[in-house]
């Protein structure tokens, strides 16, 4: 068992867990966390592939590393935007449910403050 195998299996499990949480968890914030977990698993898979491509004196192929760094930044922007949307939904509707049948109870001051 090398580092690649151990962490590769770990990454695969993280992808599976994240996907399950994304589908099965009813709360939007939990879905966002699960999505981040899924993404981090995918990034780790990139790292595994890069580690196997270690050559020319580098311990890890630099091209997948650069792709992962770009990916981490984009995932963070998406998370921040999703959180802002969620907080605004909470401010307007008074709840964060995504279930359209459950009538959201409007709060006294819909525009906030």
């Amino acid at each position: 068992m090398s580092a690649v195998t151990v962490f590769g299996l770990c990454a695969a499990a993280a992808v599976g867990l994240g996907l399950y949480g994304l589908i099965a968890n009813p709360q939007p914030l939990r879905k966002i966390i699960a999505f981040n977990l899924l993404g981090s698993g995918v990034f780790l898979l990139f790292g595994i592939v890069g580690r196997r491509g270690a050559a020319a004196g580098f311990g890890n192929d630099p091209v997948p590393q650069a792709l992962v760094i770009t990916g981490v930044v984009v995932a963070f922007s998406a998370t921040a935007l999703a959180i802002a949307l969620l907080l605004r939904l909470f401010q307007i509707a008074g709840s964060t449910t995504l279930n359209s049948r459950a009538a959201p109870s409007p709060r006294s001051d819909p525009s906030g403050h």
């Binding site: 311990g59 401010q91 906030g112 403050h113």
Partner: protein, 96 residues
């Protein structure tokens, strides 16, 4: 030497796992904050040891970033916990 340091990394990692149990158990937010602080410090130590073991000197830079960002995260953590207690019963919209 390498074996000794790797064993030390393993031991600190085990402590870190125990610290996670404490996050899991709680019972109050203060305990969770403390456990998060401990995990941050233990993670920094593991990074420093790991950098020496594997001969990656740049691991010290990762530890440096982690020290600053973990400080920031724990302050934010405590500050959010504090304002929660202070505004207990107040408008949840102002709760931050």
């Amino acid at each position: 030497m390498t074996e000794f340091l790797t064993a030390a990394v393993g031991l600190i990692l085990a402590m870190l796992g125990l610290g996670l149990v404490s996050i899991l158990r709680g019972p109050t937010d203060a305990d969770r904050m403390m456990a998060a602080q401990l995990i941050g410090t233990a993670g920094i130590s593991v990074l420093l040891l790991l950098g020496t073991v594997t001969g990656v000197p740049a691991a010290v830079d990762v530890a440096l970033i982690l020290a600053l960002l973990a400080t920031f995260a724990s302050i934010a953590f405590v500050k959010k916990g504090l304002s929660r207690l202070e505004t207990d019963g107040a408008d949840p919209g102002e709760d931050r």
